[in-house]
Symmetry: C2
């Protein structure tokens, strides 16, 4: 992980055009640092109604990645908004891909560069399942499910309740941080505050479609991105407890499908039962051999490549609130794998899960047969140190150890007759995990700034359980990468009636005010 | 099994009307015994074209059990045919059920009674999948798949090749034995041959619909059926090798469905993988605990109630042709459960098979989730001595031993939180196996007669693997019951292009000629 421990090294200047921003008139950077949070907060307190109105304007633009016209209107709108703020934004383009909204902001004298990632596209919608149009942006006095009532947008100067919710696609995921950033730049320009870091804005337009062009974009613009010290992923919800959090990694992901074979055709379970091999039983024995009852994976070497966490991560884990019992109650679980280890601890290990099982039929379609095959879809989540291919190799080695001959296609008769136990293994692609050490100086600065902004205990998550292609940034671009979510955890992301709690927009503005002016 | 060892006991006479048949003029029963086979064979050799034409007439009647009108036409046709032979046939009826074609034939001086079971209904058809209409009865010079050509029915006296095939629904399953019996009665009347046993004809009309009224019919007519010494089930195909066979039992059947539970909803496999219980894995561990790799069931007591076979059955097993290797090649199997035990041996033990598995999705529908449930449909085949309910109790006891709390309905939240491992078990109905001891004197007589008729080695199968409700006859009616199949093994029963090899019709006529005149 030494590749990240280099923020104190002297960096070569950007080789691209230097953008001298109009608001870089304040030369005393320390005073700007002091003021960033206060300036941002004062601005949104004074201009709350306008901030909400401008957010609604951004939310009114349909933004599904597959809708090229709508996506382009979003991108053009953002470029125009940034240029209004004298930020020289541009579009990066690839054929057939939504553009990246991109801006470089050089601060004279700044010795580090922060890149701010967000995405302006949203999940596809089924309007019939929404109470209002997904791009109508309706304001409620609280969450609909908790009795919130629709109300008009506030008039200038009207008191704004932070419990209000704005309902629209992408309100939480992920236009909120973009809207908040625009307001912070506006506030800074008005107050003459200068960021303390060079900044790069990088707003993607197809994250909800799986970021199929992200790697190509990063490789194409590698030179311009080479100087980034830390990427801030402004995406996702805060902790279920409502407490703000920062996460320092995400798991990688891969998977495989395993099919085991009995006879070449389904057999009558009476005529052949007790003699013909039963694929469902063979598969059960294979899967049972992979894990013990406590959830420990028994595949040789499965945990060997895990990079252990350090004292900062251990300390952060110890400080996390005890939330597991509540989660278990909510999910109807009386036990968990690896207990008493907590969910946050367990997410720092690779996982092996059965995502799907299929053999013959169950329920009303059950027939008296011995099916000819049984299939399991297995999911593998990876942590720092795990190579996706190498992990699949371990799983395959285990399958072989259980006596199976592995094939890649449907076995022919000769292959069937030559091997008692046959498994067709289909490997999925995938990508590795990423983890940024929490004790990097730049990370410590980010944490301190976020603590100032939140005013509550800030949760530090060593790693998220889900998978993001953070490795492209940590490994391909050789930078630190942290996930800085701002949305409420109950924002219905990816679902109908997506919303943002207004207080979380305020938090985003305050947070970015502090982060952009954190000490050198 | 002593209930079957009573054929030498004095029986009380039938309490129903005695039918004195017109052809019972021959008083020397020994000469009838001598002649039965020869008379039947000579008859079909002399009248082959007519025998085929009359079979075609029977096959022309659509006979799906759900078609009440068609079924009734078949039943009426059979009653008329029998009455033409001076056999006082009648219909037994129940509301909403196809009738039983029934006849009692008392032979003065006969000391035993044989009942001949067959069914005149056939499997439902999808005519679009048949080469010809299912009730058109087309004659081919051989099996269609082996290049047989369509040809007209033979003219009287024309040479008939036993390899010819008659294609029609129920040609093999199960009108062939009915047609053969009619011809034997005709031959006997012409030649003045008297059967050596009292006879009961019992032709069912809904066997392919699962015999839903069979028990009711048997109970309603228990008194008339009380004197039967042995039931002959004239149904099913001969051995795959083409050799004739008699089977002395069939397995019973039951089953259950088991669903195990994870969280109350599908969980994101990234956010929760390695912490949330995985139902597919829990189910795999449960199933793996039920059987070892060789196919031995590990459930306590699973084999304890099996009634062991005797020396006659062991001897019969030893004489069966070695057919397993050929079957394994055909089915693409390089091993079998319980090897080196043969299929015939393994069918004498109860079996436990996974008929279906389901959890989440596999293939193109695989999602990155931990499904909330996993389900297995398990089939259980039973042998003599196994009680269906008691066997399911053993399976449930095993599930409990593995730490599961068993529920009958979807568990509520309180139940989920109270038990780490939950299994919903749904028990199926079922019925027990039946086995008739091969060393009963009447069974020995049947075997000897069949050997005479077949002219080839007769295979004696202690038990069939599939399930038939033979127990109704052995246990409810307290009689011996043997399965006497006549159709070719490749008769496409239950499938399109069902057919009967003409040589198998000849075999049926010869066989019944011998069986009906076997020595006292």
């Amino acid at each position: 992980m030494s590749d990240h421990r280099r923020s104190s090294r002297v960096r070569k200047p950007f080789i691209t055009t230097l953008l001298v921003l109009a608001f870089l008139g304040v030369s005393d950077r320390m005073s700007a640092q002091q003021d960033g949070l206060a300036v941002a907060r004062a601005y949104r307190e004074a201009h709350g109604a306008q901030v909400l109105a401008e957010f609604v304007e951004l939310l009114a633009l349909p933004n599904v990645a597959s809708d090229a016209t709508g996506i382009r209107r979003n991108a053009d709108f953002l470029v125009a908004q940034l240029r209004d703020l004298d930020i020289s934004a541009e579009l990066l383009s690839l054929p057939g891909a939504p553009p990246i909204v991109f801006a470089e902001m050089r601060v004279p004298g700044a010795t580090r560069t922060l890149a701010l990632y967000a995405h302006y596209d949203g999940q596809p919608v089924d309007p019939s399942r929404w109470r209002h149009g997904p791009w109508e942006s309706t304001l409620y006095t609280g969450a609909m499910e908790q009795g919130g009532q629709r109300r008009p947008l506030p008039a200038p100067g009207e008191r704004i309740d932070p419990e209000w919710r704005i309902y629209a696609r992408s309100a939480g995921d992920d236009k909120a941080p973009i809207a908040a950033l625009l307001q912070v730049f506006r506030a800074f320009r008005e107050a003459g505050v200068t960021p303390t870091s060079n900044l790069i804005l990088f707003f993607e337009g197809e994250e909800e479609a799986g970021s199929p062009h992200l790697r190509t974009y990063l490789e194409a613009h590698r030179a311009r991105l080479a100087g980034v010290d830390a990427w801030l992923f402004l995406d996702g919800p805060v902790h279920q407890s409502g407490q703000p959090q920062i996460a320092f990694g995400a798991r990688g992901v891969t998977g495989l499908e395993v099919t085991v074979y009995g006879a070449t055709r389904s057999l009558h379970s009476g005529h052949y039962g007790n003699w013909a091999p039963v694929p469902g039983e063979m598969l059960a024995e294979l899967l049972a051999s992979m894990k013990d009852e406590r959830g420990t994976v028994l595949i040789d070497g499965f945990y060997d490549s895990v990079e252990p966490i350090g004292p900062a991560e251990r300390d952060a884990l110890a400080r996390l609130p005890a939330y597991d019992e509540e989660l278990k109650r909510e999910l109807g679980l009386s036990w968990t794998e690896g207990a008493p280890a907590t969910l946050a601890e367990r997410l720092l290990l690779p996982s092996l899960t059965v995502r799907g099982l299929e053999s013959g039929n169950v329920g009303a379609l059950t027939r008296n047969v011995i099916p000819s095959t049984a299939t399991a879809a297995l999911g593998v989540r990876l942590v720092k140190g795990n190579d996706p291919d190498a992990m699949l190799d371990l799983v395959e080695a285990h399958i072989r150890q259980q006596g199976f001959h592995i094939v890649r296609d449907e076995p022919d008769q000769a292959t069937r007759l030559a091997h008692a136990k046959l498994a067709k293994v289909t490997r999925e692609g995938g990508y590795p995990a990423a983890r940024t050490p929490m004790d990097l100086p730049i990370v410590q600065r980010l944490i301190a700034a976020a603590r100032r902004a939140s005013g509550r205990e800030l949760l530090l998550m060593p790693g998220l359980g889900g998978s993001l292609p953070l490795y492209l940034f940590t490994d391909l671009l050789d930078a630190a990468a942290v996930v800085v979510p701002v949305a409420n955890h109950d924002d219905n992301q990816h679902a109908p009636d997506e919303n943002l709690r207004v207080g979380n927009l305020w938090y985003a503005i305050d947070l970015f005010g502090a982060l952009l002016t954190m000490p050198q």
